[in-house]
């Protein structure tokens, strides 16, 4: 015998697919207003759908390395309203996006000028719920120039703005982002200030902006801290997102945080506010969010059968059994 331990039936049973937290949030619906699905796999989509995520917003962002030409920006924007939206719909998740020139790449002035020229082509597309994510990274003069230019586009089009706040010198960067928006005459209620923490939240809320929190391991918020924030500040104008991207991040951050909030005594109604309702209220100011569409995206028509095997229609993806060694 090779093995000293005795195998029992329990060891041989397939591992449970559903972690305990899924039970706590069963039947709840979630809206993740910041997630970069372009960088994620179909496994993530499936897990998100299973956890109750019904709709998401994918902000245009930095892809991890700088782009060298305007054509790759164009193709990226067009993939956000095209291919990625389709991919998402295959899992019953309604996909929206915000379009913008991110702060890092705003530092390439020659390219930024070209990008600014093509932005209006995308801002009025269906399902574009705002301008984003824009704001400061290093807080350079060029970043400010294109932040202002894009705030102007948002005002012209009556569109919400999704503001990225910097990792470094965060508090000051956040303040400056808000100062500029107010100076330019934007209604703070149209501006979602993202990646908040304990240090920035009070001022953001006091000044009438929306405060978004990114639950992202190691570098941004943890969800235990998020629970405390909601306990302290309530639910008005607060929303939670995952900002999951090409880094070590968690596309289930929103449902997991909801489960933790429930476990730690926050009411279901309050949890719903910060993980679903508030994000819809904020971004629906674009006129582009219709909750009835969430149901439609989920309406999976599997009626077409041939020779006993179901043929999936409307591009819906069949879900393979991930536990099985067999792949068919």
């Amino acid at each position: 015998m090779c093995c000293s331990a005795q195998l029992t039936e329990k060891d041989l049973a397939p591992q449970a697919m559903n972690p305990a937290y899924l039970d706590a949030i069963k039947g709840m619906r979630f809206f993740d207003p910041h997630i970069h699905m372009t960088s994620r796999t179909t496994d993530d989509y499936q897990a998100m759908a299973d956890a109750g995520v019904v709709a998401i917003i994918e902000p245009a962002f930095w892809l991890g390395q700088p782009r060298t030409g305007v054509d790759t920006f164009r193709d990226y924007y067009s993939s956000l309203v095209g291919w990625e939206r389709f991919r998402s719909s295959q899992f019953g998740i309604k996909h929206y996006c915000t379009i913008g020139l991110n702060s890092k790449e705003a530092n390439n002035e020659k390219l930024s000028e070209q990008v600014m020229e093509i932005l209006p082509l995308f801002l009025y597309k269906e399902g574009v719920v705002g301008i984003g994510e824009i704001g400061f990274d290093d807080q350079t003069a060029l970043e400010e120039k294109y932040y202002r230019a894009q705030l102007q586009l948002a005002m012209d089009g009556g569109l919400p703005v999704q503001v990225h706040t910097p990792h470094r010198d965060k508090k000051q960067g956040t303040q400056r982002s808000m100062d500029i928006a107010i100076e330019m005459g934007l209604d703070p209620y149209m501006v979602i200030v993202d990646h908040n923490n304990e240090e920035t939240v009070k001022e953001v809320l006091d000044r009438g902006f929306w405060a978004a929190f990114t639950i992202y391991p190691f570098t941004k918020m943890g969800n235990e801290r998020m629970v405390e924030i909601v306990k302290q500040y309530g639910t008005a104008r607060i929303m939670v997102n995952s900002a999951a991207d090409w880094g070590i991040s968690d596309p289930l951050a929103v449902p997991k945080t909801a489960a933790l909030m429930l476990e730690r005594g926050i009411s279901k109604a309050d949890v719903e506010q910060v993980t679903y309702r508030n994000a819809i209220t904020a971004f629906a100011q674009s006129g582009q969010i219709n909750e009835a569409d969430f149901e439609r995206t989920q309406d999976i028509d599997q009626s077409l059968k041939y020779n006993g095997s179901t043929i999936l229609r409307g591009g819906q993806q069949p879900a393979p059994d991930k536990r099985s060694t067999i792949i068919r």
Partner: protein, 293 residues
Amino acid sequence: MGYAYDEQTTAALLRQIISRHISEKAAQWVQDRLTAWQQQQALSVFNMAFAAAPRFIGREPVTATIAESPVLPVDLEGYTADRLFRIWWLLQLPVDDKKKYIEIIENLFNTAEMNELVALYGALPLLAFPEAWQLRTAEGIRSNIGGVLEAIMLHNPYPAANLDQPAWNQLVIKAFFTEKPVHLIAGLDRRANPELARILLDYSHERRAAGRPVHPMLWRLVGPFLEEMGLEDIERLWLSEYNAEREAAALACHASGYGPARELLEKRPELKAEIEAGQLTWETVAHRVNMAN
């Protein structure tokens, strides 16, 4: 002249249908956009109206009347108000400068979101300079977005009329691969060809080897070119437990001029009679497939 049909009559008809399905406010928006475009001829006005249409027009399903349908160059099955507006809007482009016209349309394709792509590909039979969109159509067939493929493949007369054989064959093969209702492809029988028959026959062998079902509509395109090579497959199909497959075998043999295939059909006089009476057609098979039989 750029158009291969009377585009003014069509444009008037489309506008009439659009007006029936949108609110007064939306109709005003349409009129305002048209006036702005005619007066300024600014491309930004044109592009913006094309992109923003759903925001102002909505997406109510539209229908043509019995009198209108036969006169239209497109089938409005599944059309919504915004999509109809978009194809009508394309007809507002001047065609006096071919190069510019093509540039504008290609730019719409290159920046399109999904519903815009669906509108654009569906509008192919209405565009001026029909010969100019062959590569674009072939590119569209490479898409993996279901709605886009359907806009090109189903009820769309452009591909059959304009694609060369390799591109046409790709379209049909892709339709099978992506499980589209193949019988709704316009010009399916007219563009059948021996090369396509060979590719589909190979494809059926692959499916069989993998233990996956073969779509019975495939035999519609093999039938007219049946010879020794496909005969064994058809013989097997005759013995299928599924009605749709036995009927497909009969129809394929009926379309064939190959002796042994004709003989096979003689063995089932009742099926042959049904085919000759027009009771058994490929529509019957398509219907069965959709009805899960």
